[in-house]
């Protein structure tokens, strides 16, 4: 799973053209599940920063949507934490939208809804989904790191770290042990 493989694959992609259709095929082929969308060399963002950030944006859309489902099954402090997490993802989403709109490439659009990987019916499944959403979003920000430099690199680093922190807090809330993973965002 070396990043080098990811980058050499990326050279086959022409930036700009066909990007949207490829993305649509890839996500629709798997019913746009917010969790379980594989993050790895096989569908990595290539050597294109906008595409990498577009993938991060798509993950942020799904995270915002998922927290709407998660929040209703939580109460008290956990519900507040879900609201705060949703706000954080909205903020990343909006920043990405602004940034990508300035570029020449296409900006992925949000979807009306996302299929869930399993029914979210109670606190346990809601917390499980919250952990998975954060790890998955962390994976997309991590995948953006090799394609960014300077301020964009720092933004991606901060976003990856924030997702990892929330995943850890959700594991603690859910009583999952250990609360950390060795390589946040790394594809399994």
């Amino acid at each position: 799973m070396s990043e080098r493989t990811e980058r050499s694959e990326g050279r086959e992609h022409m930036p700009g053209q066909h990007r949207m259709s490829e993305r649509t095929e890839r996500t629709e082929g798997r019913v746009a599940v917010p969790v379980g969308h594989r993050v790895g060399p096989s569908n990595g963002p290539g050597n294109d920063p906008n595409r990498a950030l577009g993938d991060a944006l798509a993950a942020e859309y799904a995270a915002v949507w998922a927290y709407g489902v998660i929040g209703v099954h939580l109460t008290d402090a956990a519900r507040s934490a879900a609201r705060a997490a949703e706000a954080a993802h909205r903020s990343r989403r909006d920043a990405l939208l602004l940034q990508l709109a300035e570029g020449a490439g296409q900006v992925p659009a949000d979807r009306a809804g996302y299929a869930l990987p399993y029914p979210v019916t109670d606190r346990t499944t809601a917390l499980q989904l919250a952990v998975e959403i954060e790890e998955r979003t962390a994976g997309h920000w991590r995948a953006a790191l090799p394609h960014t430099t300077g301020a964009d690199r720092n933004t991606a680093l901060a976003a990856l770290t924030d997702c990892a922190l929330r995943a850890t807090r959700w594991r603690r809330t859910a009583g999952v042990s250990p609360v950390t993973v060795p390589f946040p965002g790394r594809p399994a």
Partner: protein
């Protein structure tokens, strides 16, 4: 170091001729030797040259050493405060995994020399209350996170993702130790 290269010297005996030209030949041979010496790092004509000029340490060496030091601190703290072992052992394991992965990316064995053990006060710390142990480890992880984030901010593309995960992991350790 340059003079040990055999490239130029090897040619001189074949045209040993009149003594009158010996100085010129010697100069020419010297030029060849110098050329050979300059080319040594590329051609590998004298592998022993490398002993004189070790490559500069990899930029990730401090981070790899820090990962091992953090692992040692968590293991030491787990034995000092056994009630914390279940929390600290996965973190120590993560630091070991980071060190192994950094070593793989560096592609060279750890530099020899005095072993850089844990630099923190872990060994000298008294058998404190778990709270004090945790606070000490949190500070170390915070510093470690800052160092990893700094390295990740400017790392080449093929190292950025690994450093990002390490920085993020260290941040989650702070959280796990709270």
């Amino acid at each position: 170091m340059v003079l040990t290269c055999p490239v130029g010297i090897g040619r001189t005996p074949s045209d040993q001729g009149g003594a009158g030209h010996s100085r010129r030949r010697l100069l020419r041979a010297g030029a060849l030797v110098a050329l050979g010496g300059a080319a040594a790092p590329l051609t590998g004509c004298d592998p022993f040259d490398r002993d004189d000029e070790p490559p500069p340490p990899d930029a990730l060496e401090p981070l790899a050493a820090e990962a091992l030091a953090l692992e040692a601190r968590h293991r030491a703290a787990a034995s000092t405060a056994p009630t914390l072992a279940a929390r600290l052992t996965p973190i120590a394991d993560a630091h070991r995994a980071h060190a192994d992965e950094l070593r793989r990316v560096i592609g060279r064995p750890a530099p020899s020399g005095p072993a850089t053990g844990p630099t923190g006060p872990a060994s000298g710390a008294p058998a404190d209350a778990p709270d004090a142990v945790l606070a000490e480890l949190r500070r170390a992880e915070q510093q470690g996170h800052a160092n990893a984030a700094k390295a990740g901010a400017t790392a080449p593309a093929d190292r950025a993702a690994l450093l990002g995960s390490i920085a993020a992991a260290r941040a989650t350790h702070v959280e796990a130790l709270a």
